[in-house]
């Protein structure tokens, strides 16, 4: 069954044949890495090693290396954690939700998006470990049998929920991603000439041949994976938001956090997908696969979620005023006019005002504008988490303990580490794995491409 309306613009342009698709994608795996690739890869490795050093120092000195204090016990660490987790939402969302909605345009972008998701979750995870005072005991957060008598974990604690949510999310996304890649790996295997390459891709392609029976099961599996990943992806940021929502701190203790955080996650996730895809598209000349239609569609989603987030901000204020709780009211006034007013207003500018530009088609279809906005949005979303965490903590209930937070070089360095990690992984992926899901693109080629042709190489 081919669902596609003629009025829609083609998802793949340039009259590609099945052979062209294979060639356009696989050649990047088969050819030697380009100069450009070496440059960007080198850059990310530099970030990784700089950050690595900072991380090493943090762990030898102690958490005191950061700028935290008796009042502000979380700042950049959890801000970055939530930020990365948020980014890590687009991938699964695109491949799962859009699969369920039979959104064909996803096929060109889901592979890269899922990869990004997984790497982002790695980064998020690294902050879970980093922020612990005694990282070497991180495994205590798991309900493991132990020698301390029957001492288990606290299932009332949102942090334990986090542990389960993040690890489930990571592993399920990995499976989803990998299963989706198996047929393409088989393609690479079959085209490979060097025995080693053949062996490696052979092993990872699990002896896939593309038999009709396999395809039948395969489709069923991916459909169910999609079906369960959808609530999963929504649950993850819901649970992350509960770290705050279940607490007693004014500005944290807010019931709208789950939807608000999920919207924010999709928001930043799509922004990050855009940032990366625009680069990949340019470097790998994939204009025919990642078309203006794709970019515009994603821009629309960014605009929508951006506005949702904006509404959430306003709702918070209304609730603070309406509740009549003096602590809440002070908390939100303090966000706007207190010591961290600049963080608050940067957040508003980046997240609420700037996406409104996307109402203009010209901007939605403008690469430079899109790229800039996508980055602005991610900055804004970082500030959102910073505002929620720091500006709520630094002036909570008892005025005598009110203190400000300022970061140290190690706060910055450890953040840089995750950037290094993220980009290194992403560029490795871009080089050694098919960045576009060939099988899926081929399956929608007929229904969507302009003037199908069968010429081959």
């Amino acid at each position: 069954m081919h669902i596609s309306s003629a009025v829609r613009e083609p998802l793949v342009t340039g009259g590609k044949s099945y052979g062209d698709v294979t060639y356009d994608i696989v050649r990047h795996v088969e050819n030697k890495p380009t100069k450009l690739w070496f440059i960007v890869m080198g850059f990310s490795l530099v970030l990784l090693s700089l950050g690595g050093f900072s991380l090493y120092k943090t762990w030898t000195i102690g958490i005191g290396a950061w700028g935290l204090n008796k009042t502000v016990g979380w700042a950049w660490d959890i801000t970055n954690f939530v930020w990365w987790v948020g980014i890590g939402h687009a991938g699964t969302l695109i491949s799962a939700v859009l699969l369920l909605f039979r959104q064909k345009w996803r096929t060109a972008v889901n592979r890269a998006a899922e990869a990004m998701t997984i790497f982002a979750v790695f980064c998020a995870g690294s902050f879970i470990l980093m922020h612990m005072g005694r990282t070497w005991l991180a495994h205590w957060a798991l309900p493991l049998p132990n020698t301390y008598g029957s001492l288990w974990v606290n299932f009332n604690s949102p942090l334990v929920w986090d542990v389960f949510a993040i690890s489930t999310y990571l592993s399920v996304s990995l499976v989803f991603w990998y299963i989706g890649m198996v047929p393409d790996l088989a393609t690479i295997r079959d085209r490979a000439t060097k025995p080693l390459t053949k062996a490696i891709y052979g092993a990872f392609s699990l002896g896939w041949t593309g038999g009709a029976k396999h395809w039948q099961r395969y489709e069923a599996v991916s459909l169910i994976l999609a079906a369960i990943s959808t609530p999963l992806v929504l649950s993850v940021h819901t649970i992350v938001s509960m770290d705050f929502a279940t607490s007693v701190i004014p500005g944290w203790h807010t019931t709208i956090f789950p939807p608000y955080f999920v919207a924010g996650a999709i928001f930043s996730g799509f922004a990050m997908v855009l940032t990366l895809l625009l680069v990949t598209r340019k470097v790998y000349k994939l204009e025919h696969y990642i078309t203006m239609t794709h970019i515009e569609t994603m821009n629309k989603i960014v605009m929508l979620t951006g506005s949702v987030v904006g509404v959430a901000y306003i709702t918070e204020f209304f609730m603070a005023w309406y509740s009549g709780v003096e602590y809440e009211q002070y908390c939100f006034l303090n966000r706007m006019f207190g010591p961290y007013w600049w963080a608050y207003w940067s957040m508003m500018a980046c997240n609420v005002f700037s996406p409104q530009l996307l109402w203009f088609k010209s901007i939605r279809r403008n690469l430079v504008a899109t790229f800039t906005l996508s980055i602005i949005v991610n900055i804004g979303m970082w500030f959102e988490r910073f505002v929620i965490i720091v500006s709520s903590l630094h002036r909570d209930y008892i005025p005598s303990s009110w203190r400000d937070f300022s970061p140290t070089i190690y706060d910055v360095g450890d953040y840089i580490f995750t950037f290094g990690l993220f980009f290194t992984l992403f560029f490795l992926f871009a080089k050694y794995l098919p960045v576009v899901n060939m099988a899926e693109v081929k399956s929608v080629l007929k229904s969507s491409t302009d003037k199908p042709s069968h010429k081959s190489h």
Binding site: G64, W74, H131, R134, L159, V248, Y330, N334, Y397, I398
Partner: protein, 1031 residues
Amino acid sequence: MEGNNIKYWKGLEELNNEPSFLKNVHDEFPNQPTVDDNSPESDSISGTHRRDFLKLLGFSVAAATLAACEAPVRKAIPYLNKPEDVDPSVANWYASSYVDGGDYCSVLVKTREGRPIKIEGNKYSSVTKGGVSARVQASVLSLYDNERLKGALEKGKAISWSDADTKIKSQLEAIALKGGNIRLVTSTILSPSTKAAIAEFTSKYPTAKQVVYDENSSYGILAANQKAFDKYALPTLDFTKASKVIVSIGADFLGTWISPIEYAKQYAENRKVGKAKKEMSRHYQFESVLSLTGSNADHRTTIKPSQVGAVVASLYSALNGGSASKDFPFLAEAAKDLLAAKGQSLVVSDSNDENVQSVVIAINALLGNYGSTIDINRQSNYRQGNDAAVSAFIADVAAGSVDAVIFYGVNPLYSHPLASKLKGSLNKVSLKISLADRLDETASECDFVCPDNHFLESWSDAEPVSGKYSLVQPTISKLFNTRQGQESLLAWTGAKVEFYNYVQNFWKANVFPKQSTYSTFNEFWNRALHDGVFELALAPSASTPNVDVNAAISAISSSKSSSELEVVFYEKIGVGVGRQANNPWVQEFPDPISKATWDNYVAVPISYAKEKGLKQNDVVKLQFKNSSEVIELPVLIQPGQAKGTVSVALGYGRTKAGKAANNVGKNVFPFVSTQGNALVYNSTVTLTKTGATRQIAQTQVHQTIMGRHNVQEATLADYVKKNGKDHHTGKLVGDMAGRYVPMINVAEGGNAEGKKAPETISIWSEKPNQKMAPNHHWGMVIDLNSCIGCGSCVIGCQAENNVPVVGRQEVINAREMHWIRIDRYYSSAAEEKVGHYQEKEQPEDNPRVVFQPMMCQHCNNAPCETVCPVLATTHSMEGLNQMTYNRCVGTRYCANNCPYKVRRFNWFSYYSNNEFDYNMNNPLGKMVLNPDVTVRARGTMEKCSMCVQRIQEGKLNAKKESRRPQDGEIETACSQSCPTDAIVFGDMLDPESRISKLLNVEKEGRAYHVLEEINVNPSVSYLSKIRNPKV
């Protein structure tokens, strides 16, 4: 013990350096068989059970010191009928006395395995009545000060005591022979037997003369009494009898003036109120610096130092039917109240101006206070210093007419305004001896240094108030090769005598005969030793001074007030005059008012800062009237500082006290001015901005309460009213004085307005299953009315719970570790307004001050427990919120979710870490650690445990006698160290306990929970503050 290479084995393993020991010596947990032996770094941590951990830690610390316990135990009688020998893990208590110059406190010393580890108050003393101060409790750490001399020195080189004695003796004899002057410069001596020893010395060397020097001199009072009563002595004050009115002109009698512990104890008696007793004293304070006393006053008027005379004179005339000067608000009211309260009032002044004190004497005489609140016949000995004699001595030295000088318990080269003059001419003295315990500013200029013992190593006695004797007994044998000052003096007279025998003989001859209760001296002596004190009952007696008031007043008025900027030199509660400056606990002790640590600074009034454009932490140059020397200090904007004045604390800027104290702050003793012979602790100064800044390390940076309800207060007038709402403030009056009672709107089950008390709301039908019914529920009630904010509890807690010192930078980083803090709030003009948050942040120029001790509230719906992923903090059956340190992985979620922000995180390793080179970084300093309390590892959370180790001890003792622990048997470190008994700890399930009784009365009264509205249901309650202003 050869002091210099002293060595404590942590058990035999260390002695024979077994590899296993060396491996474990730095481990948080020595190895145990563990599930994950293959992970090398984790096995040292995870493979241990909590108990083993405590055992091992306790042992390794305790064993460190088994070497150090022999002699004194043989002679002493333990306090609570304990066996005379030391049983490991069982504390022995000894009664003794803290004596530091003129400062006195009768104490109990807790020793574990022969180590003194804690000092508490001795209830048997009618002078201090079981009270202690921060400084007294901190003194136990000074015992383990690495900077103390390890033996006698000659010209900086080590010398044996015998050689030193022969050399000194021969030189002294030579000098005496040729009639050369010998000067014995001492601090105030409270000890009668020491006085006897000095007398022996001076009789052996007729040319020897004793010069008594007090850094914080009360020469003015002494001289005035000399004139008025022909007694060179301080009177004994009794604030308990001053039940109606107290007027203090500059005297910080709750914090630093003469005998604060004694006075605070007495003062609090008339400040406590309750449903039964709805009356309290009214307290007027006229001062320049916002002192601890001033912040507790009902009316506080700011005056310049140069106005003190005018205030006193004006008060005197007002009392004589004249009219009080209009320049001083509340002076007229004070006069009126005083006249109405003859014999139940007290007027005190800290002025060192003899004339001012004469007028004060006249005032008290006129009010008939002599014989009731003041007794000159029963004199206090806290201050005996003679400024005239000291300046004469310095003149003599300068003139070269002094041949030998012995400094005993004083450090004039640091603490005297003429230090530089003295230092310059000291080389004219052929024999200079110091008995200082360290190579301090004075000792380092001396030929011989014969280090004195710490008082916890010494035998001595004290007579703080005539007729009230108390004993000083050693609680540990000498750590180093030091010798008591008295023994040194006696040695140089030729008598080789142990001061223990000397004291005993002195008591046999002089004290024993004064009593009739005990027939044999042994009985008497043992009793005295057991109680720590022996007191003769003396009835107060009246006496009429002869004062030429008019002469005094005219003398006063001749000293007119100047228009220049005046500077006041004051003592801080912690550092005082700097005798204990090298004690890191004292240095990190937050000043009760400014909350500043590790520095002194220029406190300037808000108005002055505004007009001069000064900001907090701006460094300014201080150019004093009477000196060419200039110092630079950071500015602290101090609400309540009198207009036209600034203030700087004494006791800082030591240069030769040791690591902790050297070059912390600046020394302002050189700028103390003189008036006639008397030292006057103020001067005039000009400030100039340097442009530099130096951040002052404060533990609290937000000044005001922002109109919130965590402190609740009312006026006595409201309190005595019938129940109801005050129409102006909307606050509840009557028994519920000042209470704010939050109510939550509920759908059903609410009261008439559909509201419900927060703590009656729960989403859980059933409570957590607890296998058996709880046996106790420990709790606290803190009376904000009696809490004077002195901070004694902070140090008490630090000593009891091994709270680490973190240093200036970390305090600036807001990471101090104190488990109990005293929140201090200034009133703001916008207090009652709605909104106006910016204004609410601004304190008033002369604010009302309130103190609120804040520690873990042991919530029964604890937010911290819910969020800990690893169950490292859970609730005990007895209502305690308990921390399992070695289960903690350090997510800090609990601290974030604590509404009271009382949790403290170990950002670094604070022990055996050169970054934190304080007492926990050397084996000697570690001897002060309490073996019953874990030293927390890096990356773990900690907080007030309500002294669970004390609770357990109490319960065990009771169990051994198969009974319930009695009320008062178990005290937390903070409750026992409170000099005003503001903290009541006890079992809320025991209907007979003080806390239950108190709560029964006050539940519908002044008792409230901080942040009641968020329903965390704390185990700590507060009693709202009642002020008694004139209406």
